[in-house]
Amino acid sequence: MQDENLISKKDVLTQMGISYGQLYRWKRKGLIPEKWFVRKSTFTGQETFFPKDRIIERIEQIIRMKEDHALDDLARVIHQTIGESIQVAPDSLSRLGWVDDELAELCGRHDTDSQTDVTANTLLCLAVIHRLRQQQLVTPEELLLVQRTLDKARETDDGFIDRLAREPVFLYVLRKRLTAAGISAQISLAMAANESTLFDPEIEVVDSVDLAGILNRLKLELAEEEA
């Protein structure tokens, strides 16, 4: 967690228009993880900070979902660990609104599968590719590379998705330009690695996706649709 990405508790409250009561209640219910509370000493004394993007996204989610869900249900949904065993009914995908044929096809889901449940692996692929497409930084060829990387991760590492719940794994899309004798070429790479992975300075990180985070988000989105 880098400093510039932190937001103070006071700023969270004003920015999101919520009260201390709500924040402490959500913390008690486990809706905001303990490890997001970062204590720092400032000149006024101890203050609490949060990873900015994550806390704002989580609070937006809670506010949206609390209309239809009891807080305890919400806690259950958030706590339910993402794992290989998660399966989603086929029709819930269409309710998400962003799964088009092209995306489904890319992640190996064909029209003929319309009756079978969606597996965790397919969900992860859908979520990652969707997120990369939104950013528009990655070329279609690179998307294919990402899809194949995820496929391979699943094939070679049995508990890949279960592992995501325990340690942060990022999917990186990288580019490197090689120049020699007046000819330059660019190669693209996709890799799944830890958050703290270092690349040589000539490598450009085109985009990266927090795999556990994105799966979590998708899980919540699906729960929202159910209500």
Partner: protein, 251 residues
């Protein structure tokens, strides 16, 4: 009298002398002498009025202790009433805790309604919807509840306090016991009944006889007897003339 243990046909167990029962499922378990339960136990009711030690995890609808009880692996119950002295090693998760005796845990306390008229000591965090005390408490972690109502009677301490409404009032004996309180003040340098905390955060805060480093809230009242280093408020602040506030900041 020793070893007067019986296990009746409804699956209830009682120890009224000295004895040991194994863990398991019971309807009622009562210890009125000195007893030990050697394993995990599930029961509708666990009643300890002598001295009891539960070596396993206790799960019950109702737990009441009026003697000395030790739960060595934690408690999950709808209702926990403590009028003796009770210690819990491991998380205590109860819907309702009423403590007129002494309750101590080296772990966290999770509840919906907590009422303390005796004394409470928690090494972890306390979380509840309602937290009311007219006794003393010492919480090494965070005290978090929607409504916190502290009527000071003795020393109260929590590292941090957070919630929607936080009210700290001078106990009734402050009025009655002015002389006694005055004497204690002379000998110890501070009031016998006060609340100490590093940080108090809430939407509506009313404090009396409180010592804190930082108080943050929407509507904040700093009443008599308070010493606060920094108060930050967003809507309203009033400070009693008999209170000391180092810095005030509008957020």
């Amino acid at each position: 009298m020793s070893g007067d243990n019986k296990l009746d046909k409804r699956g209830s167990a009682s120890i009224s002398g000295a004895g040991t029962i194994s863990g398991g499922e019971y309807e009622r378990v009562s210890i009125s002498g000195s007893g030990k339960i050697t394993g995990d136990i599930t029961a509708d009711e666990i009643k300890i009025s002598g001295s009891g030690k539960i070596q396993g995890f206790a799960r019950a609808v109702r737990v009441s202790t009026s003697g000395a009880a030790v739960f060595e692996a934690g408690i999950v119950a709808d209702e926990l009433r403590v009028s003796g002295s009770t210690r819990s090693h491991g998380t205590t998760e109860v819907k309702e805790l009423k403590c007129s005796g002494v309750f101590k845990t080296d772990s966290a306390l999770v509840s919906e309604y907590i009422k303390v008229s005796g004394s409470l000591s928690v090494d972890g965090d306390v979380s509840s919807e309602i937290f009311k005390t007219t006794g003393a408490f010492r919480i090494k972690g965070l005290l978090s509840a929607d409504h916190i109502e502290i009527n000071l009677a003795g020393r109260c301490e929590a590292r941090e306090i957070g919630g929607e409404r936080i009210e700290v009032r001078r106990g009734a004996w402050h009025q009655r016991g002015l002389i006694l309180d005055g004497l204690i003040r002379i000998f110890t340098g501070s009031s016998a009944s006060l609340l100490q905390s590093q940080l108090i955060e809430g939407d509506t805060i009313h404090l009396e006889d409180t010592e804190a480093d930082v108080v943050r809230g929407k509507k904040v009242v700093i009443g008599p007897g308070c010493t606060i280093k920094t108060v930050e408020y967003s809507e309203k602040l009033s400070v009693d003339e008999d209170a000391e506030v180092g810095q005030r900041k509008e957020m």
